[in-house]
């Protein structure tokens, strides 16, 4: 093989694989170079991983221009469009934050392995393929790639009971949900005789025209696929694994599962709903509305009494997922036409959620000390005295989660409520608005611990390393910028769903 042919391949379809290829390449590189490093140098693995994320981001940047033409590659099995570019950016940001937060966490925990970073990059690869895949096989393999990496990462602390329990739980439910999803995919294949999404789209549309009203096969596919994806995004009633997994996993991994898995799941959901299942949009809109309200109810009320921060944030993630589902419900007008602002609201919510939710987990990560994870609410006592900067950062992230201006969370909730009102679902808007009140209560229980209560016997100030500073700065910058000057972020959200997906 000569160099020339490699360039030929790189100029062809393979160019569209560069973002994922970089992640895989550097993931393998961390594994291969690990043996060269001494124990003190293990944190350099993070540097290699970050380099991979950066190069992957750079290749995404190069793909912006072709993405405007919605190119497909490898006989239509992946598609490079604005949707992929935008979700890719956000997922890579989440990956970068996770890596930056992990360095000190692993150092303190005393288990700094190359495999941790490699697995994070492999999970990111799966996520990117979930955003770009346009073939059922690619999507399924991508989903499994992400999920399996997460199972291992969740159980990364082998000697810890909680970590083990979390890994087993999430693996069992994950395997089950993957099976259900695969069943749904097989029905789609049965309908179309092809695994390609565009072919399936045509077939479903044809079927919808042939059998107006109830078409059992389409609904079966819709139901099973929705159930499978709901388990990945921890939407009620498929959420049971989430609180245990978040609590048991290393905190940076909890953050990564919470934002990465959820966002990638939503990418899959949006891709399928906006293309394949668009003919039955009124039905899935109702499904989203029910699941959204259920997620809000369960997430909110379960979070009210939690004392463990990670569990609380897990339930809060479920509730936040409820808002996103309601946003998706509002993307369809009552007459079945597309409501653009609803779609924009959904995507805006997903994108900004990554930053402020990861931010809340990041502050919890700071609390960790040798031998203890410190993830109870009481561990935050008097943080406003001990470390005002960390306390204010946590305040901003919690305000955003609670939807209080001037933060990204406020604009996101405003958009969702507004599009619910405009798309003719005022009662859903009322429900969504009323759930803000209890959610503010449980978020501000954390704030109260930081400001009202006295610091306990350990006044040790949480240390913030340079890597963590970078991560926190990025998260808080987006949280505030998208709250105060949301215009550019709204454009970004709109751009991401341009083209075949709706707009």
């Amino acid at each position: 093989m000569d160099w020339h042919s490699i360039f030929e391949i790189a100029r062809g379809d393979a160019a569209f694989l560069f973002p994922e290829a970089m992640l895989v390449f550097f993931g393998l590189a961390t594994l291969l170079t690990d043996f060269l490093l001494t124990t003190e140098q293990k944190s350099w693995n993070a540097l290699t991983a970050m380099l991979g994320v950066a190069l992957s981001g750079a290749s995404l940047w190069v793909l912006v221009r072709p993405a405007a033409e919605y190119v497909t590659a490898f006989s239509n099995s992946i598609v490079v469009d604005p949707f992929f570019i935008c979700f890719g950016c956000v997922l890579l940001a989440a990956t970068a934050f996770t890596i930056l937060l992990s360095v000190r966490y692993l150092q303190v925990a005393g288990r700094q392995g190359a495999e941790f970073y490699a697995l994070i990059l492999f999970a990111a690869t799966g996520m990117l393929f979930l955003a770009s895949g346009s073939d059922l096989v690619v999507l399924f393999v991508a989903l499994e790639m992400m999920s399996i990496s997460f199972y291992i990462l969740t159980g990364y602390f082998r000697s810890e009971r909680r970590s083990n329990e979390a890994a087993v739980k999430s693996m069992l439910t994950g395997a089950f949900s993957s099976a259900v999803l695969a069943y749904g995919f097989s029905i789609l294949y049965g309908i179309a005789g092809s695994t390609n999404l565009q072919a399936i789209e045509r077939a479903v549309l044809q079927r919808h025209a042939d059998f107006p009203g109830m078409d059992l096969l389409t609904f079966l596919a819709l139901g099973t696929i929705t159930a499978g994806v709901f388990a990945k995004i921890a939407a009620v009633p498929f959420h049971f694994w989430a609180p245990d997994a978040y609590e048991g996993a290393p905190t940076p991994v909890s953050a990564y599962i919470s934002v990465g898995s959820q966002v990638a799941g939503f990418a899959l959901l949006l891709r399928l709903y906006l293309t394949v299942f668009w003919p039955v949009n009124v039905d899935w809109s109702a499904l989203m509305a029910v699941a959204g309200v259920l997620s809000l109810t369960v997430g909110t009320f379960a979070a009210l009494t939690q004392t463990n921060l990670k569990r609380l944030l897990a339930y809060s993630s479920i509730a936040q997922g409820g808002y996103i589902l309601l946003g998706l419900a509002s993307a369809v007008n009552r007459d079945g036409s597309l409501h653009e602002r609803g779609l924009q609201a959904t995507v805006f919510y997903i994108f900004t959620y990554v930053f402020f939710n990861a931010g809340a987990f990041a502050v919890v990560t700071l609390l960790q000390r040798r031998g203890e994870i410190n993830d109870e609410i009481d561990d935050l006592n008097g943080l406003a005295r001990r470390n005002p900067v960390a306390a204010v950062l946590m305040l901003i992230f919690l305000m955003s989660l609670g939807g209080i201006p001037p933060t990204a969370g406020f604009v996101a909730k405003l958009l969702v409520l507004w599009s619910l009102v405009e798309s003719g679902h005022p009662y859903l808007a009322l429900a969504a608005a009323l759930f803000i009140l209890p959610s503010v209560y449980y978020y501000f229980r954390i704030v109260a611990a930081m400001w009202v209560r006295e610091p306990g016997e350990e006044p040790a100030t949480p240390l913030i390393t340079v890597a963590q500073k970078f991560a926190l700065a990025g998260m808080v910058a987006v949280t505030l910028a998208a709250g105060i000057f949301p215009e550019q972020f709204l454009h970004f959200a709109r751009y991401s769903v341009l083209g075949p997906l709706g707009l």
Binding site: A384, R385, P388, L395, M399, I404, P405, P406, F410, L414, L415, L417, W418, V421, E422, P426, A429, L430, A433, L434, I436, L437, V440, Y441, F444, V447, A448, W451, V452, R453, P486, E487, L490, H491, R494
Partner: protein, 551 residues
């Protein structure tokens, strides 16, 4: 001057507290004295930059809002950064600026830990309040309305009394509960009208043809405003929050935050939803009267100084809502006067009680006594403030309550009678408080110690100049409003007229003929027919031809 031009002055006023927060934040940790000085400097600057508004504002200008600043904030949502003032909001902005300066000055000795953070939150709170009064865009209004809850929450939670956690959480949850429903109301309103512009909706209020929507909107907004005022069933957060808050936060809470509720009624509920306001007028008046009388009774029974002031405050704010929902020009004038009066007088009372508890370390009435002999300056100030709150003529409380009562009397005499009962109760409670704290046997003197010895003992001195200045300024404002409210009324004339006429004379053309009490507004109506007579009814020379024409 760039910063004080008509288009920039509101931004200057709004941004000064934010820059104050930034400046205090930049002072290194540990330099508490410097932080305090910078904070006070910016607080005074905040008042200073607001003062030019007084002489730049034209009370008789034909356009409804002046100093309009309009920037495209979120173009894809049609949300603008739009600021502007009319007479009512000008009054509120000046009140907030004054209270902001006074509050921060009053925290000089009261706040002795984590000063930097404290001042940052104070400035953010002030900016939020100013934003509420200035904004002419619903989204901006809401952002300020809700965002200011957090700084105040933190001020109470971080620097408050023993039960600060519960009090702060209660305050926050009440505030958020009101806000979320209001957010929906704003979205529904924008959905119906396709704009977030307040001016646009003020020009075309929701009339009878809007159907049920206007009633839903009314209740949506009502919840938020009623929680803030606080009106009768929603008042329970206030006494707790005020009792636990540190003095500077308490001053902003009672003086300015409560006014945002009344301002909301004046700016949104009544002029934009006149049909609904008229329909629920009876209920609103009943709730106001309950607040006035019920809070009055609680006031009499209170032992705790700050709680006493809190319930007196609820009773006085009852007059604000009563005035608004009499839906007469006099009532509206009275309501704004009462907001000003309540703001400055309650602030003075709170600072005074703050000084008392700071020196004595106690907050129960019976812990004090005989202070008049030892601390004459303090006694004089405290007495004047209490009398102003009790409604003594020549002080602001009297003129405000009198105007509201006059409006209420026109509506129905029994309404005024019930309101008077409330005044008597509050006055009685305040006078009793004065008697027990300032006169009688000195609680801190014993047979062995002479008066002079106690006075000289550390921590129990009379007021120093730094404490005297803010109290004096507040009482001077009260005195000025009480003796010569003319300029204030002239400022309010246009917006009050507009609120009244826009909504009611347009909505019910017959109302003018039926109501005998609207004579005064008829005269003013004539002035509006000739917008070229710039001075309007304010000066006799311009008024004379108008009166002739009226004949």
């Amino acid at each position: 001057m760039f910063f004080f031009s008509d288009h920039h002055i509101l931004c200057t006023v709004l941004l000064t507290p934010l820059f104050g927060a930034l400046a205090v934040w930049c002072v290194p940790r540990g330099l508490a004295e410097l932080q305090r000085k910078v904070a006070n400097g910016f607080a005074l600057l905040g008042l200073g930059v607001a003062l030019p508004l007084i002489w730049k504002f034209h009370a008789d200008a034909p356009e409804p809002f002046q100093f309009v600043t309009d920037g495209n904030w979120i173009p894809s949502l049609g949300v603008h950064f739009r600021l502007g003032l009319d007479g009512i909001s000008l009054t509120m902005v000046l009140l907030t600026a004054l209270l902001g300066a006074v509050a921060i000055l009053s925290g000089w000795s009261a706040v002795r830990e984590r000063e930097k953070e404290f001042y940052v939150w104070m400035f953010l709170l002030q900016a939020g309040l100013l934003g509420v009064f200035m904004s002419l865009d619903f989204v901006l209004f809401f952002v300020c309305w809700e965002a200011l809850l957090v700084p105040l929450y933190l001020l109470i939670a971080g620097w408050g009394g023993a039960k600060r956690g519960e009090a702060a959480m209660k305050f926050l949850l009440y505030g958020i509960a009101g806000s979320v429903v209001t957010l929906l109301a704003i979205l529904a309103l924008a959905h119906a009208r396709g704009t977030f512009d307040l001016r646009e909706i003020l020009l075309h209020p929701f009339m009878a043809d809007a159907g049920k929507l206007s009633f839903w909107l009314f209740w949506g907004f009502f919840l938020a405003f009623a929680v803030r005022v606080p009106m009768f069933p929603f008042h329970t957060w206030f006494a707790d929050a005020l009792a636990e808050a540190p003095t500077p936060a308490a001053v902003m809470l009672a003086g300015a935050l409560l006014s945002t509720g009344a301002y909301g009624f004046l700016r949104i509920s009544v002029p934009m939803l006149p049909v609904a306001a008229l329909r629920y007028q009876g209920l609103m008046i009943a709730l106001s009267l309950i607040a006035i009388v019920y809070a009055g009774f609680i006031c009499v029974a209170q032992k705790d100084l700050k709680r006493l002031v809190a319930y007196a405050s609820i009773s006085q704010m009852g007059f604000c809502t009563l005035g608004i929902f009499t839906l007469t020009p006099l009532g509206l004038y009275g309501s704004v006067l009462q907001q000003v009066s309540h703001g400055v007088v309650t602030a003075a009372l709170l600072i005074a009680t703050g000084i008392l508890s700071e020196r004595r370390g106690a907050e129960t009435v019976s812990d004090f006594g005989g202070w008049a002999k030892l601390r004459p300056r303090f006694a004089a100030i405290f007495t004047v403030a209490a009398l102003a709150a009790a409604g003594l003529p020549l002080l602001s409380g009297f003129i405000a309550e009198f105007t509201v009562l006059r409006g209420a009397y026109d509506l129905r005499w029994s309404v005024a009678a019930w309101a008077v009962l409330g005044i008597i109760l509050v006055a009685g409670a305040l006078l009793l408080m004065i008697q027990r704290t300032l006169f009688g046997a000195a609680a801190d003197s014993t047979a062995e110690n002479s008066v002079e010895e106690i006075a000289a003992s550390s921590g129990l001195a009379d007021l120093n100049l730094r404490e005297l200045a803010p109290l004096g300024a507040l009482l001077l404002v009260s005195l000025w409003v009480g003796i010569y409210p003319g300029p204030l009324l002239r400022t309010l004339k246009r917006p009050v007229e507009r609120t009244f006429e826009n909504a009611f004379l347009v909505c019910f053309p017959k109302a003018r003929a039926v109501e005998p009490t609207r004579g005064a507004s008829d005269g003013q109506k004539m002035d509006r027919t000739q917008p070229n007579s710039v001075t309007g009814a304010a000066t006799p020379s311009a008024n004379a031809p108008a009166a002739e024409k009226a004949k």
